[in-house]
Amino acid sequence: MKNYKFYVLSIMGLGLLFHSCGDGTGNGSSNGALSSSAAEKVYVAPGEQDEFYAFLSGGYSGNLTVYGLPSGRMFKEIPVFSQFPTSGYGYSEETKPMLNTSHGFVPWDDLHHPDISQTNGELDGRWIFVNGNNTPRIARVSLSTFETEEIIEIPNSAGNHSSAFITENTEYVIAGTRFSVPVPQRDMPINEYKGNFKGALSFISVDPESGRMDLKFQVLMPGFNYDLSHPGRGNSHGWHFFSTYNTEEANSLMEVNSSQNDKDFIAAINWQKIEEFVNNGGGSTMTAEFAHNVYDEESHTGTSTMINEVLTVNPTDVPGAIYFLPTPKSPHGCDVDPSGEYIIGAGKLSADLTVHSFTKMLAAIEAEKFDGEAYGIPIIKFEDVMAGVVKSGGLGPLHTEFDGKGNAYTTFFISSEVVKWELGSWEVIDRKPTFYSVGHLMIPGGNSRKPFGQYVVAMNKITKDRYLPTGPEMEHSAQIYDISGEKMQLIYDFPTHGEPHYAAGCPADLLRANSKKFYRIDENKHPYAITSPDQAKVERNGKEVHIYMSTIRSHFTPDNIEGIKVGDKVYFHITNHEQDFDVPHGFSMLGQNTSEILVMPGQTKTSLWEPKKVGVWPFYCTDFCSALHQEMQGYVRVSPANSNIALSWSLGE
């Protein structure tokens, strides 16, 4: 028996060797049965590139992580709602304003749901939008620079969870509140929640050219919890669907009290109708306070502006725009299939999925088949909007995505599995376990008219024994399944960063060519940039000192500075004069109360240092840049506050 096993292993080894000797295309279909091995499917040979980008949310890390599929290799961590010493984001003077809010500097958030911009319902690969859950914010990340370009705070919202979802031409990024709160905020007893709190659903318009966001209007809904949402597409374009729970409007022991109703709602909102209403002067302006932070790629600088009012809409003021679709058992996922016809409600305390039909919904509205109303909003009769039920046999459905071939894939948290089923027949085709307790899943383009149904990534909440143990805390596990065939095949396991709640993916070719290589120095509009090292200088303005510094492999200009005094505020404005791909320089100063910064080629960044001690203090480049990187250093002489040493600077003198 032992020998037999060895024999089989040897054969497999041979197969692998044949493969590695091959042409490197990774197709290897001529290798017969052996080509179906999982290893071969995820193997991206050294020097080869992945087929897909995958953007996984980082949850409580506040970051967005970029992976390749099918390899599961992580390429980058993009800081969005976090301070990130790796790049200096949130530490450099230029990026601190990005984390400004109406509550002041909030250097962290819980990043949940990325969604890629779309044109005509298909991914266009220009931007990716993400939500900050805790101090409600929406961010836009450029898919050319892979940097956070814009963050807008959302007033009247709390627990910004049914966000950030993109309509099919990126007209709006939609952000709903999870927690209802008093609107406007005021001092009132908590137990008077019911009937008094409101749930704000925000419609943020996106400029088609620049991507700039503007909070166009908020619909002030009844005080339920708005959990997840998705845009209509195709025929249902113009509508947006939100799942709700706590239609009981409980304010304590929610675990029990929010699960009393047999059915909660999916709220169907005709945003085009409301848009028309506000464009014709409808809605009322409310005093509010929220920050709008924009990073300019040419000046390499972020600015924060406070906005003082928001346009709000009372649902009953726009008849025919909002309906409730009864949906069993506290639905979490609220997913729309590629055709736009089916809205899938995943009742998370149920075994079944409820599928609503958009066509039936319109017919029911037309025929006024209502089952009462809630706060003036008509409730459509369940049987008149429901298209089918998926009897899954699983427990705890959460989230559904689609392969574009008529199939849907739903995660089941409690029974820890992915279930493949067919749209229309509602028949289960396949089920595969996850390891363990899967939350969300992602198929590249799965939330669009055109999914790329090759792989599904399952993002799990629990890791346990999947990897070598690393103490009590383990990074969350993810699994990749090949879904190109009738049955799903688990092909890879990989660890993620933070807690991915959601992800978005797209073909590599959509982004690869547009990915920025470096910033042109002659386009640098930073106010403290120097375009040639002979402009390097040091200026004093009272206790403020500005150092205009440049870098190239491998020196700083200047690298000797004297005349700095204890108590000064010293700003190092560093312009990287490299004009080549992947040649950043770093900067750090001994004793400075901030992180290092990484300056990309052609970019200017500013690092603040407030010297507290007399002495001669070194600074150096933190990013290994050339064979002479260790020599890339300099000194600043710090004299007593009352010293008469004149400012001077030099290099090589």
Binding site: N3, Y4, F6, Y7, S10, I11, G13, L14, L17, S20, C21, F518, I521, D522, T531, S532, P533, D534, S550, I552, R553, S554, H555, T557, H577, E578, Q579, D580, V583, S626, A627, L628, G652
Partner: protein
């Protein structure tokens, strides 16, 4: 069965050789390290006693996109002015006029180098320091400090050369 397994192991190891091609015979680690050290110190072998930066090699056109370039007799002043702008922005950090800095000074460069070689060094430095013997030696003479690729266009590089003619 046992014999079959052994045969497979043999085939397998032979294939490893066939694929890798370079697998070295396992031997004592010290001798390998020693060998490496020697290799590093002996490259490259200078071909003459004259320092690479001072050697005259007018027929060497270097390695890169430029195979032929002839200057007009007259210096094009407008082009030279443009060339100075580009030089100040892209090159000055390492190359100072009239003195050796991080790299050599450009003064009198065309007494030692062909215009093609200079163009290729600007446009294609990564390949030059690997494949052009003179560029390789220069890299060593200048402490291993790399000639950065500043992604100049051919037109910009040409303008920089015109500026060099005025020095």
């Amino acid at each position: 069965m046992k014999t079959l397994s052994k045969t497979l192991v043999l085939i397998l190891s032979m294939m490893l050789f066939a694929c890798g091609g370079k697998q070295e015979k396992k031997s004592d680690g010290f001798s390998i390290e020693r060998k490496k050290t020697t290799e590093q110190t002996e490259t490259p072998v200078p071909v003459s006693d004259v320092k690479a930066s001072e050697r005259v090699e007018l027929s060497n056109k270097g390695v890169g996109p430029i195979t032929s370039l002839t200057f007009n007799d007259e210096i094009d002043q407008a082009m030279a002015t443009k060339g100075k702008e580009v030089y100040d922005q892209m090159c000055l950090a390492c190359h100072r006029i009239g003195k050796k800095f991080i790299g050599p000074a450009p003064n009198g460069i065309f007494e030692r180098r062909s215009p093609e070689w200079v163009m290729n060094m600007i446009l294609n430095p990564e390949t030059m320091v690997k494949e052009d013997a003179l560029a390789k030696e220069l890299l060593v003479e200048f402490n291993g400090s790399p000639m950065a690729n500043q992604n100049l266009t051919e037109e910009e590089a040409r303008a920089v050369l015109e500026y060099f003619r005025t020095l």
